[in-house]
């Protein structure tokens, strides 16, 4: 189990659990980051700090520190 910010690029991951609360949790749920869903890191910003993920058919950029509580495993 690793946190989403640490996954390697272009590897399919399955979301295991969300250790996040409040607003950010809702925001992640909104875009389809829920336990069981498949997610893939596809881009890293040139200066780091933010990465883009492919989730539910679209590409969403989220700052690394905001996804530290999203735990996944490689598929």
């Amino acid at each position: 189990m690793i946190s989403l910010d640490k996954v390697s690029i272009n590897k399919r991951c399955r979301i295991l659990k969300l250790d996040i609360e409040g607003n950010m949790l809702r925001r992640l749920l909104d875009i389809g980051i829920i336990p069981g869903a498949i997610i893939k890191k596809v881009l890293v910003s040139p200066f780091g700090g933010i990465s883009a993920y492919s989730i539910m058919g679209t590409t969403m950029a989220i700052r690394d520190k905001d996804v530290k509580g999203v735990f996944v495993e490689y598929e």
Partner: protein
Amino acid sequence: MSKYKIALAGNPNVGKSTIFNILTKSNQHTGNWAGKTVENAYAKYMYNKNTYEVYDLPGTYSLVAHSKEEEIARDFICQNTVDVTVVICNAVALERSLNLVLQILDITSNVIVVVNLMDEAMKKDISIDLEKLSSILGVPVIGASATYKRGIKELKEVIENFVLNTSIKDKPYIWKHDDEVLFASNIVKKCHEISARVVKVGSKKYLKRERKIDKILTNKVTGIPIMLVMLFFIFWLTIVGSNYPSEWLSNLLFGFEEPLYAFLSFLPVGITNVLVYGLYKTTSWVVSVMLPPMLIFFPLFTIMEDIGLLPRIAFNMDRAFSKCDSCGKQALTMCMGIGCNAVGVTGCRIIDSKRERLLAILTNSFMPCNGRYPTMIAIITMFFIGGSRGILSSALCALILVLIILLGIVVTFITNKLLSKTILKGDKTPFILELSDYRKIRIGKVIVSSIMDRTLFVLGRAISVAAPAGILIYLITNITIGNTTLLMWCSNFLEPLGQLMGLDGVILLAFLLGFPANEIVMPILLMTYLGTDTLTNYESLSSLKGILIDNGWTITTAISFLIFTLFHFPCSTTILTIKKETNSWFYTFLAFFLPLIIGIILCVLVNLLSYLF
């Protein structure tokens, strides 16, 4: 004849505004990035003698609200005051769109689903079984390609059918889910199941190509340079393209001056003078200097926006925003500010956190807007590249403009950081930025919409300000107290501060009088210097340079002038917008004085440095 109410809902960036515009024949601004509809738009259309009121709701991924706009959208749907809610989906990412569809279906069954961007889906080898989708959801489903106006007629028919045959309105719904994770998970799972049944994806070639483009645009080495080069080319094309047209237009408009004077000669001489030498002259100056660059700049800028580059710019720059405790979406509002600061300030609504939104609003004017480029280009051409008009010198001019923008960006970061450490303390709040798919653009549509939405709007505003300002300037240059004109009184008063900043009293007065619109700073300046009671014709830059040098301009004056053009105070429209958006006099005053103080400090520094060398 009856009246029906329709709400348009959908994820951000699925073409809701485009459908709204075609349905109601209006021209809401559209663009390829999530969150550009920040105000609830409302318009009507007639169909078979019935009136339909359409409400374009801000785009939202779900009804679990956290931002202002999302709350607006949710409350609107929950109240169930509309006859039918049309939910617009993205055919390319149907699974995601279904999330909102299912949430809305939970509240009301008066729903019509439009699967938009069918053309994009086809290009990407994605096919969708609309009939099957309709039978699974139990509501009408229509396929559409709004950019090509396909499916809109059918939508109108289906809406008519729906409202005529459905009389039950659902009761207001109270949004409450105790276990949000469970609620979201259930819906997301359903979306996945449904989309697996109705969507067929062929080859994934398109996806690989888009990824490749993304990789280049967000690459460590190439990402930032590509963006700067693009900015450079936009400026360059604007400068090269508007060079001669400005002159032709000026000759044309000033050519009408004498006939107009003769035509109005039945009026008392004083009034004719005010109208022709005040109002007409200033207005035609503004039109000839402003119109050609806008006609080139706005379409180019719109193309960049429509293809989908803005979110990539924000993605690349995020680290810097993060470092100064602000929201990465501020990059988007800064891009909008390059077109018009008032638009940029309104755009700040996409930033959820109040603190970060205020940072973005207060610093938006550090991005030079369209009203300021013509002035900057003129000064750069005169003082830094010898006034010639070759391709190379215009390239150099564009390069200097890019450097000025970079200065604006750096000062934005420093100001963000300073404000975050002082009066706007607080933490960075999480945000999600959608990197929307690249879309093909239709050049014809871009040109028409950028001319309609932007050029005419900005020019109209400039003219409506220039006309009365022209009269005012004419009057203060002609009313004398003792032996001096009113204008000279004012500029003499400002002279000491101007000198300290490497400028002079006349320049400061020109900026003050240009508060209604930055476009008129240059004409005021020249009118004052010439001491004649009217404005000179826009002849050639070298003759203008002569006037400035005769009035004591040096290279230091030019540098200070450029800095002050970038940092003074936002124009009156922007200030009013800031008051409206922040609802606070304190922040409105701050937005006025912050850039002013920065501008004064920088100019004084430049002036002091110039004595050292």
